[in-house]
């Protein structure tokens, strides 16, 4: 055998080995540790955990293994077991264990610090070289510029984060009657002292005074966020900054890719096939795949819309639903199971106990889990929904929680039953949370939406994003609780902001009933406007079932 042939064989073996090695590396999850404050008692003892869960969910966008722990239980050396360590400073001046301070200062691993308590490290004589090492210093906390009054309802604070040229304003409302301020204005103030070592990556501005300070600053392996970006989150909020910048923190190269999703909502026995035909035809004409959030079993146990007599309509008794689905499926639609009955038993939860009106997996009246709540109970209802579809020749590729809220057990059931879900979710700090604000050691429930696909959330669910919301009209003359306008222009603005996330989606849903003539709203026109606007922003429509 010639030397050339031997050389080729050795070269092939080398390339093969290198390829296998690279493949193995690519499949290795990133290990992350999220440390949070947990006070021994008090109404906010579990607040840090709530924030930690939210961060954990975002980290689920990547191949990650995430551990959550109270910083108070940190053991020396743990940092070294992870690629990235996050500390969530949610509790003002809660003492941080010396072991974590020492490790955070000495490690070469990535450390990300949020909001409070940086002074325990940066001002600590034991770490007097903090500023020299990282190139920035910590100087103070700032909050509201003054207390608001009815005559001066917003005296100002650091309220606007600018990211990729987009102003992202923090939430603020003031109730002059009660004096309550709904906002999270406190920020940690840092200064760059050595520009060769530290960078102000993102600024935050006090729009009243014009002052500007770092919102995100990085010095070497140490990152600092001036606030906790998980309070009052919204689609135009600085929450989008952490969603995007996590790519850089984790060191994962991601190409810019902006995709769009649309879903037709609450399609049940009450659906009008004409509306579904119009929408299906339009989406087909533009080659846009779409989801159909389907409620397979209609029930009205109190007879609210049946002259006082209980009524149920199975799928085989609902020709309008079947014909609507058949037409939509032929034109690019894919079914998402949106509850079994989308209501609970014969209780008004909270409206009528009629399918589509009420919550199915959460007691919204008392803000607690429903009687009999368990993973098995929720699985039973999810299986019943799938069986109802199957009995009529349909299947669903995903699950969407009714009214976007379920119990922790039901979310775990969804994770077990469905390979993917399409939703924004609510997370709790216990499996049977006590959300009474007056309760000792009260729990928290936090709503969270995502601008991208989450491979695994706190409950183990895979989540497709819905981050723009939906078009709504004020029809209080018909339904006093439906008193809110959310326009296609609102969704467009949300989509513009979502572009700051390098792989962000523009995902929204729409109720076909807005095409009903009796409602007298420009539903179809507005639907076309938002579809066109999303396309004009450069998003590409994709099939949710293929993600």
């Amino acid at each position: 055998m010639s030397n050339a042939r031997w050389f080729k064989r050795i070269l092939c073996a080398f390339v093969l080995a290198a390829g296998l090695s690279a493949g193995a590396l690519a499949q290795t999850p990133i290990r992350a540790l999220v440390l949070y404050d947990q006070a021994a008692s008090g109404p906010y003892a579990k607040l840090g955990m709530a924030y930690a869960i939210m961060l954990r969910n975002l980290l689920g966008h990547w191949d990650t293994t995430v551990d959550l722990r109270p910083v108070q239980s940190y053991a020396q050396g743990q940092v070294e077991n992870y690629k990235v360590v996050f500390y969530i400073g949610s509790h003002y001046d809660l003492p941080i264990p010396a072991a974590f301070l020492a490790d955070a200062y000495s490690t070469t691993k990535t450390v990300v610090w949020f909001k409070y308590n940086l002074w325990q490290l940066a001002w600590n004589p034991s770490y007097a070289g903090f500023s020299a090492k990282y190139g920035f210093s910590f100087s103070s906390l700032r909050g509201m510029d003054a207390a608001p009054t009815p005559g001066n309802p917003n005296p100002g604070f650091f309220d606007t984060v600018t990211y990729k040229s987009r102003p992202l304003a923090k939430h603020y409302t003031y109730d002059a009657a009660t004096g309550a301020i709904n906002a999270d204005p406190d920020v940690g103030v840092t200064q760059i002292v050595d520009a060769t070592k530290a960078q102000r990556l993102v600024p935050i501005r006090n729009t009243r005074t014009g002052e500007e300070i770092p919102y995100v600053v990085r010095g070497g392996n140490f990152w600092y966020f001036a606030d906790l970006p998980f309070s009052y989150i919204g689609p135009r909020d600085r929450y989008l900054v952490v969603c995007d910048i996590l790519h850089d923190i984790l060191g994962v190269a991601t190409p810019t890719q902006q995709r769009a999703l649309v879903r037709l909502e609450d399609v049940s026995a009450l659906v009008n096939p004409n509306s579904m035909t119009v929408l299906s035809n339009y989406l087909r004409s533009k080659s846009i795949p779409f989801g159909i959030a389907t409620i397979p079993f209609y029930t009205d146990p109190l007879g609210v819309y049946n002259g006082g007599r209980a009524q149920t309509l199975r799928m085989n008794q609902a020709p309008a639903l079947r014909s609507s689905l058949n037409y939509a499926l032929q034109n690019g639609g894919k079914i998402v199971l949106h509850g079994y009955t989308h209501q609970h038993s014969n209780m008004r939860n909270p409206h009528t106990a009629v399918s589509g009106d009420d919550y199915e997996f959460w007691d919204i009246v008392n803000n607690r889990v429903l009687p009999g709540d368990s993973v098995a109970w929720a699985l039973g209802r999810m299986n019943a929904g799938m069986a109802e579809l199957a009995a009529n020749g349909y299947t669903a590729f995903a699950w969407e929680p009714p009214h976007y809220q379920m119990s922790p057990n039901a979310y775990q059931a969804a994770a077990q039953r469905f390979p993917t879900t399409w939703q924004r979710a609510v997370y709790y700090t216990a499996t049977t949370p006590n959300l009474n604000p007056a309760a000792a050691n009260r729990d928290f429930a936090v709503g969270q939406f995502f601008p991208y696909v989450i491979k695994r959330d706190h409950y183990g669910q895979r989540i497709l994003p819905e981050n723009l919301g939906n078009i709504e009209y004020d029809i209080r003359e018909i339904d006093p609780s439906s008193n809110f306008n959310y326009t296609w222009q609102d969704l467009k603005l949300n989509a513009e902001n979502a572009k700051v996330v390098r792989d962000g989606f523009a995902s929204f849903f729409f109720h076909p009933f807005w095409l009903e003539p009796e409602l007298n709203k420009p539903g179809f026109q507005d639907f076309q406007s938002i579809v066109t606007a999303i396309e004009a922003l450069g998003y590409q429509w994709v099939d949710a079932s293929g993600l």
Binding site: T352, G447, I478, D479
Partner: protein, 100 residues
């Protein structure tokens, strides 16, 4: 109680503790993220070592108190599916669901 009996008792207790700890560790490893939040608070609160003496005076906390809402206060869906039935009734229809 004699010394051998004491020693045997101590050894037995040690063994039981070790077995309990091992079971707890195995259980903890099997917990999902959601389940870990159910750990009793005293376990989570127990620091591994005494907290450090305070060597740093904290900066003043901003004085104006606010109400902080963690996360999104969930997306409110104001409209309801049966609004259509109400609208039809308002337009002169029955507002009832008729099985076909």
């Amino acid at each position: 109680m004699n010394r051998p009996l004491l020693a045997a008792l101590a050894l037995g207790l040690f063994g039981m503790n070790a077995a309990t700890a091992a079971t707890a560790a195995a259980d903890a490893a099997a917990l999902t993220d959601a389940q870990t939040v159910r750990q009793p608070a005293p376990v989570l609160l127990a620091p591994d070592r005494p907290l450090p003496p305070r060597t740093v005076v904290a900066p003043p906390k901003p004085r104006v108190e606010t109400v902080v809402q963690p996360g999104l206060d969930k997306l409110q869906k104001h409209e309801r599916l049966t609004d259509v039935l109400r609208a039809r009734k308002r337009a002169g229809g029955t507002g009832l669901v008729v099985a076909e």
